[in-house]
């Protein structure tokens, strides 16, 4: 066991875990944020996607020991206060989720995409979102919603999406 100091969604957490424990289980079972999901355990499906200093990572394959106290970790619970990030609004408008299990990961990937590319075309979307599997097949709506969110951000002039 070792002690780790983590910054998640702007809050400090001090946890004690085995060094090889994946960040996913730390977030879910030590910190208690259940929005980040376990899907494959091998960084193949993207259900566990969170942001590490703004970049999307697969938390199921990120040992807690590789993280530093200075790292900023953001989960689905941290991207907006009232489910009002442009991506979330567009997701609701396009009625994207079906079962919803993969959607936290999809949204985290989409938020990161729009941050790095505010005006993606379909190919950009496909490239950025291909690491996220949706078994329900919400892909046509994910494409639509990302375009819509890009427009919402442009309209609002607030590039953070919030």
């Amino acid at each position: 066991m070792a002690k780790y100091s983590l910054s998640i969604n702007g809050k400090k957490f001090s946890i004690e875990a085995e060094p090889d424990t994946p960040l996913l289980w730390v977030i879910r079972d030590y910190v208690g944020l259940k929005g980040t999901k376990f899907g494959c355990g091998m960084a193949l499906c993207g259900a566990c996607t969170v942001h590490l200093d703004g970049e999307p990572i697969r938390s199921c394959s990120t040992p807690v020991s590789t993280l530093k106290a200075a790292n900023r970790i953001t989960t689905i619970e941290g991207i907006s206060a009232n489910t009002d990030h442009a991506i979330q609004k567009a997701w609701i408008e396009a009625q994207v989720p079906q079962c919803g299990y993969c959607q936290s990961g999809q949204i985290m990937s989409a938020v990161a995409l729009l941050k790095s590319n505010p005006n993606p075309n379909d190919e950009d979307i496909d490239a950025a979102m291909s690491g996220n599997i949706c078994r329900c097949g919400t892909y046509p709506r994910i494409r639509k919603a990302i375009h819509r969110a890009a427009d919402l951000i442009k309209e609002s002039g607030n590039t953070t999406g919030k």
Binding site: G35, G39, C45, Q95, P97, C99, D126, G137, P140
Partner: protein, 725 residues
């Protein structure tokens, strides 16, 4: 469901006194113990005799029960809408609660695209009864004729004076009235919710991360388990060496337990730990020696050979009309073909999991994602020889179902482990993706031997579809009738509307010890492929256009004919395609409903095939949520593309060869074509299903399109789009 009209006066009154007890929507909480409030309500519900699908409280709070678990298909919106529409309440002013297998709610399993169809009449009546009682109560309180009152937006209005009462103010008077036996249902033209693209109330929760799935369920004091199961189905434990496991920090104990799956019981070894990662590490350090009982001889290549041999046998008659043999023998044009499909995993994104607690007095409590709370109760009670009343079930959002969560082995296993760990200790079992991929149950493969005879002018006069397959029923049920054709395994082949005078369809059972299961759209997922591709082969033999050939066999008016006609129109079937493109058509009618699709493909310079666009027409009769219907068809198409073009499950030495999403690949966004969905909903009381019918037509329409573009006839699933030519 038949009991919905059971609301007598006494019970209505009892419920009106519930204020303050059932006010909180529990599943939206991301707190440590989700669904606490739901648990309270279901305990209360259990103690009443009636079926409280809608609860209106004096405070004005309205609760509507959803009896069909939400797994992505939209029952969390569609089922409560049936009541809300008639009750004149918008969904955002209602609390929706998931039932937990309580007897009085009747069948609560979501499957077979049956949820809305099975509830439509009764739930509308329930809502209409409540509305009529509230209106009558208002007319009494005002002393005005009932005809002068109407309900709207959770209020009853008196038309001439404009006065109004909120529903809450009417509850006490209403609860003293007789429940109307035949309440007047609303005219569909006045619908505000049904038939409209209403937003789903579960979606905001699924966008914020607040939606609670079985995976997220927690109770105080629980421990975690990772379970070692024999890689060969039917193997038994010979020896367990847990010496290294017990050295893993956090591991508490190792227990033997059982997983009951239908008629099958499998021995398992569970590693119990204080956190999931420790359980998993402990399991990796575990050494279990298995006695494979000879089942390690099983492999896919030999099994397929066996199916091809069995195809030479006559089999059991599924459907017989006219004189197939005689007509086929004399037919001027003949053709025969053999089609093959693979075993598949369901692979919902939420791996199987279950939290179970064995309590004093043989009481069991379960927290789980399942398609059927009632079937969890039944399965656990049967597996442990306890009354169903002893099993309390808490159902969460399902992270996908697709048929996998119709089988409650994850619950029987977790219960067995909890029992072994000891009274009072809740145990959360989490399957790895590898467990989920390899441990079944699976969608069965089907092989098909097809024969057709055509007249000299190219009309189908004789047709035979012989299905050679393992059986879901034979591998799952103790009693299975081997003397009759298996309707599930021949699903749809004798239900198509094509008017062919001489038909003899057959079934040949192939035994196996591998557990087989319903998979979204069940056997239609493979039989539509063989059937509708062969129809295309017949059209080619007849020298006719695929569409015209089918229409010539559809002289009588039928839903199929309407679907194909609509499909021709919306897909632009008669317009020429760019060079190197091809299009294919297919339709399928089966127990769940009816849909047809046209697929357009193009051939890239490197010879690979790109799916350009899918046009879909689904026939519903009546549509509850057109936007969600489109979502379901889009999803079914995605799943079907994967089933047609990705990986199957194969066995070697009795073991599944695939393990995770790298070798059991799923469709990704970059592979998703454009999809255009059209709904036929022309009124009437006949309702067809939504969740499944979008799946079967895809594979044959795609294969037919590839033939059209390349001349290559595909007769085996899966096929690689990069290696067609």
């Amino acid at each position: 469901m038949q009991k919905t009209l059971n609301i007598d006066r006494r019970n209505f009154l009892k419920y009106s006194g519930l204020t303050g007890t059932a006010l909180i929507l529990g599943f939206s909480s991301s707190e440590a113990i989700p669904n606490r409030e739901v648990l309270n309500l279901s305990r209360i519900a259990e103690s009443f005799e009636l079926t409280p699908f809608v609860i209106i409280e004096k405070s004005g709070q309205i609760t509507i029960m959803n009896s069909k678990p939400e797994m992505g298909q939209g029952t969390f919106q569609s089922i409560p809408s049936l009541i809300a529409e008639e009750l004149e309440v918008p969904l955002n002013k209602v609390i929706i609660k998931q039932t937990s297998g309580e007897k009085q709610f009747g069948a609560q399993t979501a499957g077979g695209s049956s949820s809305v169809r099975g509830s439509y009449a009764n739930l509308r009546k329930t809502g209409a009864s409540a509305r009529e009682m509230l209106i009558k109560a208002a007319s009494q309180q005002w002393s005005v004729p009932v005809e002068e009152c109407y309900a709207e937006d959770v209020k009853v209005f008196h038309k001439p004076s404009g006065r109004s009462f909120s529903y809450g103010e009417l509850v006490e008077t209403a609860s003293r009235l007789e429940v109307p036996k035949n309440p007047a249902l609303k005219d569909p033209k006045d619908f505000k919710i049904l038939g409209k693209p209403v937003q789903r109330p579960d979606i905001p929760l699924k966008v914020s991360g607040e939606a609670v799935f079985g995976m997220d369920a927690e109770v105080q004091g629980m421990v975690y388990a990772s379970v070692e199961r024999c890689p060969v189905f039917g193997g038994k434990i010979r020896k367990i060496d847990d010496s290294l496991t017990l050295k893993v920090k956090g591991v508490k104990q190792v227990v033997k337990a059982q997983r009951t799956l239908g008629k099958n019981t499998y021995e398992v070894v569970a590693v119990i730990a204080e956190n999931y990662w420790a359980a998993l590490k402990g399991r990796k350090a575990l050494k279990v020696e298995w006695d494979y009982q000879g089942f390690d001889q099983f492999n896919t290549l030999d099994y397929e050979k066996n199916l091809r041999e069995l195809a030479k046998t006559e089999g059991l008659v599924d459907h017989n009309a006219g004189d197939f043999e005689g007509t086929f023998a004399q037919a001027p044009l003949k053709l025969e073909a053999f089609y093959e499909t693979p075993i598949l995993s369901h692979s919902p994104m939420e791996p199987m999991n279950c939290l179970a607690q064995w309590k004093e007095g043989d009481q069991v409590e379960i927290w789980v994602s399942s398609q059927g709370p009632d079937s969890v109760k039944r399965s656990v009670a049967e597996a442990f020889g306890i009354p169903q009343e002893n099993v309390k079930v808490n159902i969460f959002f399902n992270g996908g179902g697709f048929g996998r969560r119709l089988y409650q082995d994850f619950a029987t296993e977790a219960t067995s482990i909890a029992k072994a760990v000891g009274v009072g200790k809740p145990v959360k079992v989490i399957w790895t993706r590898e467990d989920d991929t390899q441990q079944g149950p699976f969608r069965p493969m089907t092989f098909s031997a097809l024969k057709a005879g055509l007249s000299s002018d190219g009309k189908a006069i004789a047709f035979q579809h012989k299905v050679i397959a393992p059986s879901i029923g034979a591998t799952m049920n103790k009693s299975y009738d081997r003397t009759k054709s298996d309707g599930t395994m021949t699903e749809g082949i004798s239900e198509q509307q094509y008017e062919i005078p001489n038909v003899k369809n057959l079934f040949v059972l192939s035994e196996t010890h591998i557990p087989m299961a319903a998979w979204r759209a069940v056997t239609s997922t493979t039989l539509a492929f063989s059937h509708e591709c062969f129809l295309d082969e017949m059209a080619v033999k007849a020298g006719k256009n695929s569409f015209d050939f089918r229409m010539e066999l559809l002289n009588k008016e039928s839903d199929t004919k309407r679907v194909l006609t609509k499909l021709r129109e919306v897909s632009g079937w008669d317009k020429p395609l760019p060079k190197g493109w091809g299009r294919g058509i297919a339709q399928w009618e089966f127990f769940a409903g009816l849909a047809g699709q046209v697929v357009e493909v193009s051939k890239r310079k490197d010879g690979s095939i790109k799916i350009e666009k899918v046009y879909a027409v689904i026939d519903l009769g009546t549509v509850v949520n057109p936007d969600n219907t489109k979502a379901q068809v889009e999803g079914a198409i995605t799943m079907a593309i994967g089933a047609a073009t990705k990986d199957g499950i194969t066995f070697e030495k009795g073991m599944v060869q695939q393990s995770n999403f790298h070798d059991n690949r799923m469709v990704r966004i970059s592979e998703m074509p454009k999809v255009e969905v059209h709904i036929l909903a022309e009124g009437g009381t006949k309702i067809k299903g939504v969740g499944e019918p979008g799946l079967p037509p895809l594979a044959p329409a795609l294969a037919n399109a590839i033939f059209n573009a390349t001349g290559v006839r595909i007769r085996r699933l899966p096929f690689d789009l990069d290696k067609i030519v």
